[in-house]
């Protein structure tokens, strides 16, 4: 898994006192989307905007758009399929991740 860090690997002089990490949420540069073998695909014609997918995503990577529909951020999406499984209207289908 490639870990995208903000800068090059740190030397001992770069570390903060006591190895404290001062940038909140800095791990959000990690591209966990590279893990998946399936990705979610939506058919919004069926979507009732209930938000079940949003609340059940362990990666917190499903976001609401301006129209109130939801979309998975593929940078983070690990392809677990919970959103597809929980959607009450079958909006989401998991399809195999293709070679880019």
């Amino acid at each position: 898994m490639e870990v995208k860090m903000a800068e090059k690997p740190k030397g001992w002089k770069d570390l903060k006192l006591g190895c404290v990490v001062t940038e909140p949420g800095s791990a959000s540069t990690s591209k966990t989307g590279e893990w998946r073998s399936e990705r979610p695909v939506r058919d919004n014609t069926k979507c009732i905007k209930c938000g079940a997918c949003y609340i059940y995503c362990p990666e917190a990577c499903i976001n609401e758009d301006e129209e109130g529909f939801f979309e998975s951020d593929l940078y983070y999406c690990k392809g677990c399929g919970i959103c597809a499984h929980e959607c009450p209207r079958g909006v989401i289908t998991m399809v195999e991740e293709e070679e880019e």
Binding site: I48, C50, P58, C80, E86, P88
Partner: protein, 316 residues
């Protein structure tokens, strides 16, 4: 494709999640397994608790998937030291604030204290310091994220592992059915400390969970919330079934959702007709070796304990 939905699920469908904050206090990009119920639970808990908190975290899955140097997934102040000492470290943090506010060194901004750990850190190695913190009456919320084994080190049994489950240190073999002891009832141990608030919760019921942790945080004194964390990796279940399995745990009576406020029990999700435990266990390969008679044993025990709980809660 539509499938048969339960009443609980139908209720959820009509809910609009815009009623809760979209703030994520735990950043995406964490390294939890695909479909991790614990990561989802953490997300819900910290959504509910906001940012005016300090978190003390035990060694374990959450700590590991959220804090690889030199980065962090945490957007709130966070400290991790060792495996078993959350109760003690958290007592120190809370006492520091108390002393410094009283001595006029810092203003009182209503900062609250949260301790988190897995089932191993809570009911095994960390039980003593947690008991001490509860007995001394520090003002904190402790959440146990229970994935029912030492998952971070590779699925070894803990005292929270259910009867009959496969783990690497209580494996299934010619002379073993896996775990031969019954799950330690950690919420009851918390209740026995006579602390103001104890509850069980599950991310499959996110609003119940969020209400409970908020309530626990607000109440003065120790609060304990035990959160069932479905673990596809350790339970050998499909990652997409994490929410479904959490729901089934509740609907079969295996993991009832209740709260105990100053000693008074209340079921927060009532299940009038328990589903058979087999429905919960069939999609988890950690149970697939169990024979019908063992499952019957488990069924009997679950029903008995659920009845006892109902009695305490004054439910017919």
């Amino acid at each position: 494709m539509e499938r048969e939905r339960s009443e609980a699920e139908r209720e959820e469908e009509s809910f609009v999640p815009r009623l809760i904050t979209t703030e994520e206090n735990f950043a995406s990009g964490h390294r939890a397994c695909i479909g991790c119920g614990e990561a989802l639970a953490v997300r819900h808990v910290f959504k509910a608790l906001g940012r005016n908190i300090i978190v003390t975290n035990a060694t374990g899955c959450i700590e590991i998937f959220s804090s690889l140097l030199p980065q962090t997934s945490w957007r709130v102040p966070w400290i991790h030291t060792l495996f078993e000492n959350v109760g003690a470290v958290m007592s120190g943090v809370e006492s520091a604030y108390k002393a410094r506010i009283r001595k006029g060194k810092i203003p009182d901004r209503g900062v609250k204290f949260v301790g988190i750990g897995g089932d191993g850190a809570t009911s095994d190695i960390g039980l003593q310091p947690l008991s001490g913190a509860m007995e001394r009456g520090h003002d904190f919320l402790y959440c146990c994220f229970d994935n029912e084994a030492y998952m971070n080190t590779g699925i070894q049994r803990s005292s929270s592992t259910p009867y009959g489950a496969w783990t690497t240190t209580a494996p299934v073999g010619k002379q073993s059915i896996g775990q031969i002891t019954w799950k330690k009832n950690m919420p009851e141990i918390a209740v026995a400390h006579k602390i103001p608030y104890v509850a069980t919760a599950c991310p499959s019921y996110p609003f119940d969970l969020m209400d409970k942790v908020k309530k626990g945080l607000e109440m003065k004194g120790p609060a304990y919330v035990h959160v069932l964390s479905v673990c596809p990796t350790g339970w050998r279940s499909s990652p997409d079934q994490t929410i479904e399995l959490g729901r089934l745990a509740v609907e079969t009576g295996i993991f009832p959702l209740y709260e105990v406020v100053n000693g008074e029990y209340r079921l927060t999700v009532e299940v009038p007709q328990l589903k058979p435990v087999k429905e919960y266990m069939k999609d988890q390969r950690r149970f697939r070796h169990l024979t019908d008679d063992v499952i019957e044993q488990i069924q009997a025990r679950v029903e008995k304990e659920y009845e006892e709980l109902k009695q305490k809660a004054g439910v017919e």
